[in-house]
């Protein structure tokens, strides 16, 4: 493999690994902050216990999200020097802003939250986890505005042998970036909701701490239902944006080969990439695909054949990932609806099959999120910046395949080990359940009270 192929593989591996931890952080920070706020306002110790228990799992996950994030920033320069040089005038800004307005906030206040239990007032302590939650969500906004620009470049001119920013406002208001932000954000909330519901289900099945875990489950079910509805709703608008701005990606997502008007949505599609057609197209809903693409059932959709083959993304991974993600998205709405009704009617403990399903459903939203990123990034190929710069022109010239083999091997080994340690720790502390006396936990920072 050459430097390009290896660098792409390495970016995929490191980005996907990073994105195992980030979405849970996005959602769980809000849930923990909510739990702590409930504790502060009601004084009810069960919420303190919840804050401690879910907070510990939050921190184990958070650690890896932070450290794997630095890799992403470094890699733009290390492996994608031509990209960085060509679009740095625009792309560098949101990254630097992300560090300045979000990372500092996040990492300063997480320190305060971990070590500050007895240093600051209860209210200030709860506020500090809210600051972490806001900062992580804010950080997602800036990075997705940056990614949104790669998907739909706006506010720039090509000048001095590079892309230069001429309208910062256009980048800030880039609809693609904002849709992607909300879609990603809500998918993270779904992940967090399933994480909490799954672990709560485990304990409810075992009969441990039923009150504690029923309460936790209910909070997560409400949050999860709202989020899975929102992620689907935003996803619908996001698809329209893709159809408008990235016709090749949309055509690949749906495996549309011929340009046609009023296309049906076929539930059964088997793409035949070699012959540039679908070998099976069945169970169609008339006009539905055109409606999904442009919210107009008569609209014309451009097929892949209207683009030369060198401008088409890999069809099969884009198509399958999109179908998989969408199907999972619908499943999440169903599961969270059942979860919400069962916890509202207090029937959760008796629905053992459902609890078992929710336990094993923990990985599903993670898979959906990864599939979503495959659609976004593989579907954008061959472009790294859609219509402006090709991925093949973006790779570092001075980096040799041997160097990338070395780094890829290093990342695989290091990340593999970290994943095992992280899963071990999460499982250990998730199974252990909440500490019986939360005041014990508080006393750990008594040392700092002189």
């Amino acid at each position: 493999m050459d430097t390009l192929a290896l660098s792409r593989l390495q970016f995929a591996v490191t980005a996907m690994f990073h994105f195992i931890f980030v979405p849970l952080t996005l959602g769980l920070s809000i849930l923990v902050a909510y739990m702590e706020s409930r504790y502060v306002s009601s004084g009810d110790e069960v919420y303190l216990k919840m804050t401690k228990f879910w907070g510990k799992l939050f921190l184990i996950n958070f650690a890896l999200g932070i450290v794997t994030g630095i890799t992403m920033e470094f890699q733009f320069g290390m492996n994608w020097a031509e990209y960085s040089r060509y679009v740095g005038d625009i792309f560098g800004a949101p990254l630097a802003i992300e560090a300045t307005v979000a990372f500092f906030l996040e990492s300063t206040f997480i320190g305060l939250w971990i070590f500050g239990w007895k240093k600051i007032s209860k209210k200030a302590h709860a506020l500090s986890i809210w600051m972490v939650a806001i900062a992580t969500n804010l950080s997602a906004l800036w990075i997705l505005l940056a990614n949104g620009w790669m998907q739909k470049p706006v506010g720039y001119v090509l000048r001095n042998n590079r892309a230069e920013m001429v309208d910062f406002g256009a980048m800030l208001t880039n609809s693609y970036g904002w849709l992607k932000f909300f879609h990603t954000l809500f998918s993270g909330y779904v992940i967090a909701a399933f994480f909490v519901m799954g672990i709560a289900s485990y304990h409810l099945l075992k009969g441990n701490n039923p009150e504690f875990f029923k309460k936790s489950f209910k909070i997560a079910a409400t949050f999860g239902l709202l989020s899975s509805l929102l992620v689907f709703f935003v996803g619908d608008f996001h698809a329209v944006e893709v159809a408008k701005t990235q016709p090749t990606k949309f055509a690949a997502m749906e495996s549309v080969w011929e340009t046609q008007k009023g296309l049906p949505y076929n539930l059964m599609v088997v793409p035949d990439v070699q012959n540039e057609r679908n070998s099976v197209e069945a169970v169609g809903i008339p006009g539905m695909l055109s409606y999904l693409a442009f919210h107009d059932s008569n609209a014309e959709i451009k097929g892949l054949k209207s683009f030369t083959s060198d401008l088409r993304p890999p069809v099969l991974p884009t198509f399958l990932s999109f179908r998989g993600m969408a199907a999972l998205g619908m499943l999440f709405m169903l599961l969270t609806l059942i979860a919400f009704i069962l916890s509202l009617t207090n029937k959760l403990e008796y629905s053992r099959i459902f609890l078992r399903i929710m336990l094993y459903a923990i990985p599903l939203p993670y898979i959906a999120a990864q599939l979503g990123w495959i659609v976004a990034e593989v579907g954008r190929q061959p472009w790294i910046v859609y219509g402006v710069l090709k991925t093949s022109d973006a790779v570092s010239k001075s980096v040799t395949p041997l160097q990338v083999w070395g780094s890829l091997a290093g990342f695989t080994l290091l990340y593999g080990t970290l994943a095992l340690v992280d899963i071990y720790l999460l499982t250990k502390f998730a199974k252990k359940g909440p500490d019986e006396d939360p005041s014990l936990l508080i006393s750990r920072s008594k040392a700092q009270e002189v």
Binding site: F76, S84, S107, T108, M165, F168, Q403
Partner: protein, 341 residues
């Protein structure tokens, strides 16, 4: 003033503050098993840096991000030319963060010992690598129109290595003083005594660094051209001596501040010598990466200036507040066994 110059100054400040802040937690990390005689003492040392190391490290991410936003060509070439060195830095930083977060989560001694060793090595390597990297930047990289003509091993030249050792010693003294300031009793005394001992090695290497710089780099040209800048290296030398003098008087906190000043002034000394280059070419000055030929457009620099002017003071304000919240000293006798760290 030109926006490129504003960003050159900001770039220097971000790196200097980064070295000053992460420097002491690197130092404390490197010294973990040397100063911490038992689990309680080790835990105390880690607790002194626990609340702050994460916020310190963001200065690096911001320095990197600012290089990307303000000088994208330098960012692109620096990061791709120094590929292997940065990879090692990255791996160290990843392991370092994880080792502090995870060490308290296991129950066996073996678990803790392994993470402690990881923390020590992963505090040492970034200190060395950052020094080697900056030594090589001061010297210039072998680059021209056709790209980079070196490898990871060309970075390990005598001047680069000397700068690496210089950074390691600076951070060791800095970290030992930090531990001394933040703890009580025997641990604090041993830490300040150790800082005093390492200081002699630091002095020798600092003198060697200043002398070698005259031969290996072009940094002094700017000073000869405008001698008023000699103020910065002079302050670096004075504050370096100040560490020892204040330390002997038993004023650990003042000695720590003096070592903060030393790190800031050493960084500025190097960066002033670089101006207007960000990375000189050791082959031909035509290919120097300067703040003019590698900068973003003036439009981008203006926007980033507004962002920096508004947000950097806010960041500094809440970080100072954060340090004040955790200003009290820790004692190994009362560090609790609970918690994540």
């Amino acid at each position: 003033m030109e926006f490129q110059i504003i960003w050159f100054v900001l770039w220097a400040v971000l790196w200097a503050v980064y070295f000053m802040l992460d420097g002491f937690d690197f130092g404390a990390g490197m010294l973990l098993n040397f100063l911490g005689k038992n689990e309680k003492e080790k835990k105390t040392i880690i607790h002194t840096i626990g609340p702050v190391w994460n916020g310190n490290e963001v200065w690096l991410i911001t320095a990197g991000g600012a290089t990307f936003a303000a000088f994208p060509t330098t960012y692109a070439l620096m990061f791709s030319y120094l590929y292997t060195a940065l990879l090692l830095l990255l791996f160290s930083l990843i392991l370092r963060g994880v080792s502090m977060e995870f060490r308290g989560l296991g129950s066996t001694d073996n678990w803790k010992n392994n993470w402690d060793k990881t923390l020590m090595i992963s505090s040492f390597l970034p200190s060395l690598l950052l020094g080697v990297a900056f030594g090589n930047i001061f010297e210039g990289l072998p680059m021209d129109a056709s790209g980079y003509h070196g490898s990871f091993f060309t970075l390990l030249n005598p001047y680069g290595l000397l700068t690496g050792v210089f950074f390691v010693l600076l951070f060791l003294v800095h970290g030992a003083l930090w531990v001394s300031v933040k703890t009580e009793g025997d641990l604090s005394l041993r830490a300040s005594a150790l800082a005093g001992k390492i200081w002699f090695a630091l002095l020798v290497v600092a003198v060697a660094f200043l002398a070698f710089t005259a031969f290996a780099t072009n940094l002094y040209a700017n000073y000869v051209g405008m001698p008023v800048w000699f103020l910065f290296p002079a302050l670096a030398v004075l504050s370096l001596l100040g560490i020892k003098i204040l330390g002997l008087k038993g004023k650990s906190l003042a000695a720590f501040y003096s070592s903060c000043l030393t790190i800031l002034m050493v960084t500025f000394t190097g960066v002033i010598g670089l101006f207007p280059n960000l990375i000189p070419s050791s082959l031909d000055p035509t290919y120097n990466l300067t703040i003019y030929n590698s900068s973003s457009s003036i439009y981008t620099l203006k926007i980033m200036t507004v962002v920096a002017v508004v947000f950097v003071p806010i960041v500094i304000a809440y970080q100072i507040w954060h340090y004040r919240v955790f200003r009290s000293k820790l004692s190994p006798d009362s560090v609790s066994e609970e918690g994540l760290y």
